[in-house]
Point group: C2
Amino acid sequence: MLQSLKRLLIGEPKATAEAPHERLSKPIALAVFSSDALSSVAYATEEILLILVLAGAAALTWSIAIAAVIGLLLFILTVSYRQTIHAYPSGGGAYSVSKDNLGIPAALLASAALLIDYVLTVAVSVAAGVAAITSAFPWLYGHRVLLGVIAVAGVAVANLRGVRESGRIFAVPTYLFIASFLGLIVLGLARIFFGNVPAVPSPIAPQAAVAAVTPFLILRAFASGCTALTGVEAISNGVPAFQRPEADNAKQTLAWMAGILLTLFLGITFLAREFGVQPREGETVISQLARMIVGTTSFYYILQAATALVLLLAANTSFAGFPRLSFLLARDGFLPRQFANRGDRLVFSNGIIILALLAALLLVFFHGDTHALIPLYAVGVFISFTLSQAGMVRRHLRLREVGWRRGALINGVGALTTGIVLMVIAATKFLHGAWLVVLVIPAVMRMFLAIRGHYGRVAGQLRLNHFDLPQRAAHTVLLLVSDIHMGTLHAVNYARAISSQAEAVYVGLDEEATKRMQARWAQWAREIPLVILDSPYRSIIRPLIEYVDKIQAERKVEFVTLILPQFVPARWWEHFLHNQTALRIKAGFYFRKGTVVIDVPFHLER
Amino acid sequence: MLQSLKRLLIGEPKATAEAPHERLSKPIALAVFSSDALSSVAYATEEILLILVLAGAAALTWSIAIAAVIGLLLFILTVSYRQTIHAYPSGGGAYSVSKDNLGIPAALLASAALLIDYVLTVAVSVAAGVAAITSAFPWLYGHRVLLGVIAVAGVAVANLRGVRESGRIFAVPTYLFIASFLGLIVLGLARIFFGNVPAVPSPIAPQAAVAAVTPFLILRAFASGCTALTGVEAISNGVPAFQRPEADNAKQTLAWMAGILLTLFLGITFLAREFGVQPREGETVISQLARMIVGTTSFYYILQAATALVLLLAANTSFAGFPRLSFLLARDGFLPRQFANRGDRLVFSNGIIILALLAALLLVFFHGDTHALIPLYAVGVFISFTLSQAGMVRRHLRLREVGWRRGALINGVGALTTGIVLMVIAATKFLHGAWLVVLVIPAVMRMFLAIRGHYGRVAGQLRLNHFDLPQRAAHTVLLLVSDIHMGTLHAVNYARAISSQAEAVYVGLDEEATKRMQARWAQWAREIPLVILDSPYRSIIRPLIEYVDKIQAERKVEFVTLILPQFVPARWWEHFLHNQTALRIKAGFYFRKGTVVIDVPFHLER
């Protein structure tokens, strides 16, 4: 039944041979990989305004200058990442680039930052998407955590189905989002052009200035706005998913994405200033702006729906990136091997499931509030930006390929700017939540190293090294019996199948029962000898361990096999009525060398 | 480490041979078995007053008449149970008596009622004990649930240590309780005799009459007061724990207990009326009465402490009764066999642990409130009283031993009275919580029958019936390998030890890896053949199941053994990095007949 549910949700399994065809065309790739960056238009402007408004409504005019600087940063990043795509057509994530050029510690720092960021991308995007919906339908505001968790589950299931299908599902809303935002900007600009701007409505609760317009405040607002840049790296991570020629297609898609992002972000920020929109609880800035420009019309609802859907797509970007990075880390032994297994539908199922669980936890913990999650967000992204760009500089200097000087300059500027921005973000956001990320990143890195260390030690112990198989290992088989019945005889049969010298062992708890057992054994199962172990303290396991000790000491056998007759009941609750002793015996022998415990199942009928 | 903690808490294990000496002298037995009945003096009067006060303070004068009727009932029960002890010197619990004389369904009804009642006894006694403490120290009132749970855990540990020790631990407080209550009663009577009764203090919140003094109200108050009789049967259940001659000692102890109970209950109820005590939240009636008679002196604190301790002892009575009844039921196949195992200290550990867990749950669920638990309480006791007495009547009529007419008359009166009281309790308490018990009892009985049915079916399938062991069963051994390393060769060794024709099986997920595997196998392990199974859908388990199907169909073997090389890591968290596939394979083969799955452990070092 579970199996049928799985099939219904994620579809029939795909054969390994189907794998290479799962490639994305440019328009689909734009939808899949760019939505994280594009969708941040839905909240980045608001996050800038939320900081500026602390210095009063007048301070809001700073927003356009801040947005312009972020736009410049976007340009630098885009040019830098085109270099990365060119250099790493097989997927140049921060991990690969750092590992290649800066060494393992830098690569692990980048990975830890990125993994955390993928989780935050899902949480922030879903929270913002839900905010778009609750802006349109305020009565849903109380259910935002539940809506968020449902959305995460939905995206996870879509991804478990496989990448091409999820691309198709999401292509329409991306283009609808782009079109409706462009439409809103054009209509807004037209209103301004024709002088048809409404008098600024007095805000419901006029915001008193609690801070002055200091450079620190401007930098804090800038740091918040930098969330607009998250996801720019997604394309460079996902190059192998593009159709051939992968690198060229990826570069073009990146340029398109950057152009669209710049237009939308600057347009919305400009309009928000001109229309005097102020952030407030329960309705997003975009929703307020749209109501002012087009009213609560069907266009308004389409815009909100497209916003919500593209934010789901942004969450989806992480569902492409997180499992892929986990796979790379698992392949190199820094994460459990399970992350390197492709599931039924050729996707890395374990990475998808873990990501969904972590994001849902964050949503519940932060009550589905976008603003509470934002301070945690940009630190990780800019760590990996900086490491990735620094790695590219190192690469240019090392390989000196054609045009390396230009490349080094471009990536050098990229590394320097992102490094500075990283420091600005860490400094201005530290007290507001960034400290959490700063604590978790080293913990994740330690986990990577512990796992790698373990696999390393295991590999050392498993290495084949002049090993000669012995002729046939010396071996003793013990069959533990507590009674004699059909199940016992079934197990006696098995014991004789695997050894011609098996012996049965009975732990005698009282004298009378022991005598009865001996008599019945002689009658029914005299083919193998019965050994009686006395147990004055009623423990089954202690006399057994002592007997095995004795055998290992006296007979010098390589293996002692202990057979436990096991009942397999036909109903689930019947398990509680059997096999409790067997569990304890298995636990008792688990860490002993040279012993093997076998359950010989005897299947009960209803 | 867990083992050391266990030793510290419950002591060193005892040998089976020590068992028969664990017998109780009469004074110790009184402490162990009578405390349930005696301790109800601490709350029974209050429960009567709580109902009467609904009809206003004037109605409280009815309490002494009600107490007198309950005293008569106690006399009838005591005489009746002396018959039971005489007839069943090996322990005449309601279960044994009903099973012997009324048949299995009546016995199961009695058992279900009794098991539930043992749990309620623990919960009610501990809640009342905590109330005695919080009456003396009101600042503890907010912590009463925690205090209750700690108390249950403490009593459980004392019982896991073994019965004689727990008797010794608790003998002092019982006699202190009896002495201090007698002292309080004597001092109170003296005050009345010398006319030194304080003017009735106006209650803090005068209770308005919300009901009239109807017969129904009087019966409800009577039903509440009947909780004073719970635990009277404890001695007849525990006859074998007495020193020889068991029956005579038990009968004498029962008579003593009834006399003491009657004196204390009537005395306290009389004084409460004379001193005009009214029940109120946060302080028990006993505490109020004691403060009036002796003030908040050290005698007051001793009385409260003795009350709390004897109520712990009452809980302890259930810790003797519940495991013993569970043992009887388990022996007859109505409960899982684990309840019939004696633990390290010759007590039925599983019964003790389950009882503690259930009682703690009740305390948490009912916020440690005695009054909320009382309506659930008496129904079960009177069901088993009635069945037990009816069973005795049947026995007298059947066996016609010396004095059977007198016996039948005594037990007949007992059965009739307890039956009538049962109906009164069920009718007056139904809406106040008794419905819960009325629902749970049939559910527990159904569980008994389901378990018995299962064991019966198993016994049928296990019965030895002209079974001839075959010469040596045909057998195929498959070793599942995913790689070739020291762990693999260890498993190859084992496979060769248990079969001269073992074969290795490799599920090929991609062609290149398969070729590499074949080459390495030929180099290192050519002693056994390597079978390659193709898996286009990357599933390990499906090709394996198909191969086993084929072997079973073609080779007509009795057993197919599947060996899985298993890593045993040295640290707990390392388990997450291994063996996930093995778990799924085991699950896949669990319900298949004729297959045995063996983990061959390879122990990793740190």
